[in-house]
């Protein structure tokens, strides 16, 4: 007795894809991000010079558009004669590496704690909430700076420290959403099937968290990138001679009145990268949960 035969609309995946292709912000973000990522990946082939090669005879050469500049060094050289453009390109690698690495660490910590607290409630939730409050009360930047300095600055240390201090957003959202999902009937139905707790969490809860986790992950990559740049700027992040954009700005600060591009250009790159990531993240949020928009 087939009675109901028509399904309205299209699958959620196709609907999402369609929305993605129409969302201007998302497309701009993705395009920009891909461009910078491509530059980062292809740096060994694209960069005109070795970013670490010092050339003390050619210090502080101005960029190509200046009268005294040349196309040999399109953006000029820094105070140790290193080619600025090459350093900029390699800097993208550091930003992206730190961003992805730190966000991943934060994601694992935050989501695990969030799902545990949200699903099991009770004591576990109390402990996790307490941990969260303590973490929020910590002056994160100060602690990050101190730890990086005391342990010894390196890229790995920076990734680790930033990651370990940036899980709160993941936790808060995951916990809230898990608590909501836990009350829904399809979770009760799964429990009534005799499914184990892990089966329920992995089959019912996690797929419904995935969208939000992706969005938060994207935004946290941006946060981590800026955190790394700030730490490096203050001298307690990625150590010299790595071409971190934050370091480039710090190095250029001393002569910024006469050579403002030393400060402006890496900052613009940072701004562009993070804006691209944020546009993509916001776009993802709009696209995967359009009901949350307005």
């Amino acid at each position: 007795m087939p009675v109901e035969s028509s399904a309205a609309g299209i699958t959620p995946w196709r609907a999402a894809r369609r929305r993605m292709l129409r969302h201007q912000g998302f497309l701009i973000g993705v395009a920009l991000l891909l461009a910078i990522a491509a530059m980062a990946l292809a740096a060994p082939w694209l960069a005109p010079h070795d970013p670490y090669a010092q050339d003390l005879a050619n210090r502080l050469v101005p960029p190509a558009w200046d009268a005294k500049g040349s196309w040999e060094h399109v953006f000029g050289t820094d105070h140790l004669g290193r080619d600025y453009l090459s350093r900029l390109m390699y800097g993208a690698r550091i930003s992206l590496l730190v961003g992805l690495g730190a966000a991943s660490i934060g994601c694992v910590i935050g989501v695990t704690l969030g799902v545990a607290a949200g699903y099991f409630g009770g004591r576990i939730d109390q402990v996790v909430s307490y941990l969260l409050t303590c973490q929020l009360a910590l002056p994160g930047l100060l602690l990050a700076m101190s730890l990086v300095f005391l342990i010894g600055p390196s890229v790995a240390v920076v990734i680790g420290i930033i990651g370990v201090l940036h899980w709160t957003y993941f936790l808060v959202v995951t916990r809230t959403v898990t608590m909501q999902i836990r009350e829904l009937d399809y979770v009760t139905a799964a429990r009534a099937l005799g499914a184990t707790r892990w089966q329920v969490i992995s089959h019912e809860v996690l797929p419904n968290l995935a969208n939000q986790i992706i969005v938060i992950f994207t935004l946290e990559v941006g946060v981590a990138i800026i955190a790394e740049a700030s730490l490096s700027f203050l001298g307690v992040g990625v150590p010299a001679p790595n071409p971190s954009w934050g370091l480039l700005i710090a190095e250029g600060k001393n002569s910024m009145f006469f050579r403002p591009w030393l400060v402006v250009v890496p900052g613009l790159f940072l701004f562009a990268l993070v804006i691209a990531i944020n546009l993509m993240g916001d776009g993802l949020r709009d696209v995967t949960a359009p009901e949350n928009r307005n």
Binding site: E4, A7, P12, A190, A192, G194, H203
Partner: protein
């Protein structure tokens, strides 16, 4: 001159995919002192019609009409500012469905009442306060003066709705629009509120527009009724005319799809309207109902059928001429529709039994209040025999959902035993238990995982229990889908692509795929539209016969109970107050609460009004249940003994009742 004159009201809402036409040409007039009931299912446009009348349609909506006049004055040409100043809240008032969220939580009741008057009239604060108190008393809120300083969250749902009514009356409106005013309330409270509305309408001389999906309510309360489908009125007339001689196929279909004791025998198949409501995006060619109509002809699909007059104030929009329509109406009405596929009587050893089950929760009031104990289930004993359908009936807060979870093994009670086929349910919903007993839930939108396809959802029980090879599982899923009436094409659809009825069918398929013996249905049709409810009820009845299922049906809808149940257990504040065979309990209810429930249930009885269920106003607080018999503060037959001692269970064969009015020697008469 009519008080309200509406001609060709249309509402259009521009959407990304096109233009939505939720209201497509509504005409009616309303006289002073008259009650018009607008009845329709979800998506029919009835709420939006009311909002458009008040000028409260969404900002992007375009409202157009040939005429929209209140007492001769044209409302269409007024600006929002003029409407707000002169009409809304003063001449036309509206109350809404959700009393729990319709009041501002940060202002006192008193302030929300008085500000209505102070906004529209030049009255002093004292005058407004005095009127507020008077109105609160009139709508039946006890301790009115004291309530002024209270906040909404300190009142129950029924009390809040009374406050909403008082607010609407502050400025003596000429028209009161009530949009599903009682849908979110319990049956007994619903009856009280509806009676109140009827009384107030008489007293204040207002015209009342009552919007509802409940045919029983509208038949009893309204003078005239308009049946709305897909944005237009398909039939109008007096209540008696429309319900006794439905001229439009949709009206006929609606009436045939509700279980009507006295007209349809329990267990018989209900009429069903196939298909779903058409999309309102873009223009609809021809009759909107044609795709679902058994009388449809080619003409129906080509052009909009004419509005036909069938007497004074009687109209319907159909190709069928009056004579033909009347003939079709009499075909359906009258005569008992017979018979069910036999309902097995009880008698064998109980399949599921609960003995002395106590379950309490520790609840914290507010963020800093003390922890209180909520006795959700208080000494419940019941048994379900193989093949029978036991209905557990009660209103919100009675503990029936908690009981269901306990029986499923999802909650472990502090005291008491639950036995499934003689074996205790130790440690919860184990695999063995799950194979024999499965649930179906109320909300088809939250009972399916939105990120999984239908095939995955229906197959899940087999996956979890490791039954069969992947091919066997696939075949079983196909078989189940056919059994519940889902087309194979839907196998890889996601829940959000399906209608409510389709989702509920999927949930049923999931529940029966392991061939359980017992299915626990928690309000299986309450969240569905009327025309879809009958489809699901028919399905449940068919499956019962075909698969030899035993049902535990939890519901508040007495019509469904009478239609499907063999035995009934009535629950109040965590206790079972009466059990018995369905026939007995409905014919001769013993417990005063059961009597009140039955009196409050709105059956389709044109012009009957709402009887007084004599329950009074003290709403029970589950955290502080009354001493003695829990029902005594509301009981119209309470005796001094009732407030002191909890009544014992009086058994009489298969039935029992928990009331001081009955004794062992006299279990029937009281």
């Amino acid at each position: 001159m009519a008080l309200l004159e509406i001609k060709d009201l249309r509402v259009e809402i521009p959407m990304p995919g096109g233009i939505l036409h939720p209201v497509r040409g509504v005409d009616f007039t309303l006289e002073r002192g008259q009650t018009l009931g607008i009845v329709g299912e979800s998506g029919s446009g009835k709420s939006l019609t009311a909002l458009a009348l008040m000028g409260l349609a969404p900002a992007q909506a375009r409202v157009r009409a040939g005429a929209l006049k209140l007492d001769g004055r044209d409302l269409l040409g007024l600006t929002q500012r003029e409407l707000a100043r002169d009409v809304r809240g003063s001449r036309m008032a509206m109350i809404f469905q959700e009393p729990m969220t319709s009041l501002n939580p940060v202002y006192t009741i008193g302030r929300q009442l008085t500000e209505t008057m102070l906004l529209h009239r030049s009255a002093t604060a004292a005058e407004a306060t005095a009127r507020a108190v008077r109105l609160l008393e009139r709508v039946g809120v006890t301790g009115a003066a004291g309530r002024l300083g209270q906040y909404p969250h300190q009142l129950s749902g029924g009390q809040r709705q009374r406050v909403m009514i008082a607010m609407a009356l502050m400025n003596d409106p000429e028209v009161l629009i009530a949009d599903e005013p009682t849908t979110a309330l319990d049956v007994t409270v619903q009856a009280q509120i509806l009676r109140l509305l009827a009384e107030l309408q008489q007293e204040f001389g207002m015209a009342l527009i009552l919007i509802t999906h409940n045919l029983g309510v509208v038949s009893r309360v309204a003078d005239r009724v308009a049946v709305m489908y897909a944005g237009e009125f398909v039939e109008t007339g007096t209540t008696a005319e429309v319900f006794e001689t439905p001229l439009h196929p949709y009206t006929r279909g609606l009436l045939a799809s509700i279980p009507q004791p006295g007209r349809v025998e329990p267990g018989a198949r209900l009429g069903a309207i196939p298909g779903i409501v058409p999309s309102l995006l873009g223009e609809i060619q021809g009759c909107a109902f044609a795709a679902r109509c058994s009388h449809a002809r080619d003409a129906c699909r080509l052009a909009l059928p004419p509005q036909r007059e069938a007497g004074a104030g009687r109209a319907y929009r159909c190709v069928m001429a009056e004579g033909e329509a009347r003939a079709a109406a009499s075909d359906v009405g009258g005569g008992l529709r017979s018979g069910g596929k036999g309902m097995a009587a009880g008698g064998s050893a109980p399949l599921l039994s609960a003995t002395g089950v106590h379950c309490h929760f520790n609840v914290k009031r507010g963020l800093f209040g003390k922890t209180q104990r909520l006795h959700a289930v208080n000494g419940v004993t019941l048994a379900i025999a193989r093949g029978e359908t036991l209905a557990v009936v009660g209103e919100s807060g009675c503990g029936k959902t908690t009981l269901a979870r306990i029986l499923l093994g999802l909650i472990v009670p502090q005291e008491g035993k639950v036995l499934l086929d003689g074996a205790p349910l130790a440690g919860g919903a184990t695999r063995a238990v799950a194979r024999r007993m499965q649930p179906i839930f109320q909300d088809p939108y939250s009972s399916l995982n939105p990120r999984r396809t239908l095939a995955e959802i229906i197959r899940r029980p087999l996956d979890v229990h490791g039954i069969g090879t992947p091919q066997e599982r696939r075949r079983k899923v196909d078989r189940m889908m056919a059994l519940v009436g889902l087309h194979g094409r839907l196998t890889h659809s996601y829940p959000n692509q399906l209608s409510g009825g389709q989702r509920q069918r999927a949930a049923i398929a999931r529940a029966i795929i392991m061939e359980p013996q017992l299915v626990i249905c928690d309000e299986p049709t309450s969240a569905l539209d009327v025309s879809v409810q009958s489809q699901i009820l028919n399905l449940l009845l068919d499956l019962r016969a075909e698969l030899n299922l035993t049902y535990l049906l939890i519901t508040h809808d007495l019509a469904v109970v009478q239609h499907m149940a063999t035995r009934v257990a009535v629950m109040y504040l965590g206790e079972i107050v009466e059990t018995g065979s369905a026939r007995e309990v409905f014919a001769a209810p013993r417990h005063p609460y059961t009597q009140a429930l039955l009196a409050s249930a709105p059956t389709v009885t044109p012009g009957a009004g709402i009887p007084d269920n004599r329950l009074g106003q003290s709403y029970p607080n589950p955290l502080e249940p009354p001493g003695g018999c829990r029902f005594h503060p509301r009981c119209p037959r309470a005796m001094p003994l009732c407030s002191v001692a909890p009544p014992p269970e009086i058994r009489d064969g298969d039935s029992c009742v928990r009331c001081h009015l009955y004794t062992e020697s006299q279990p029937r008469a009281a």
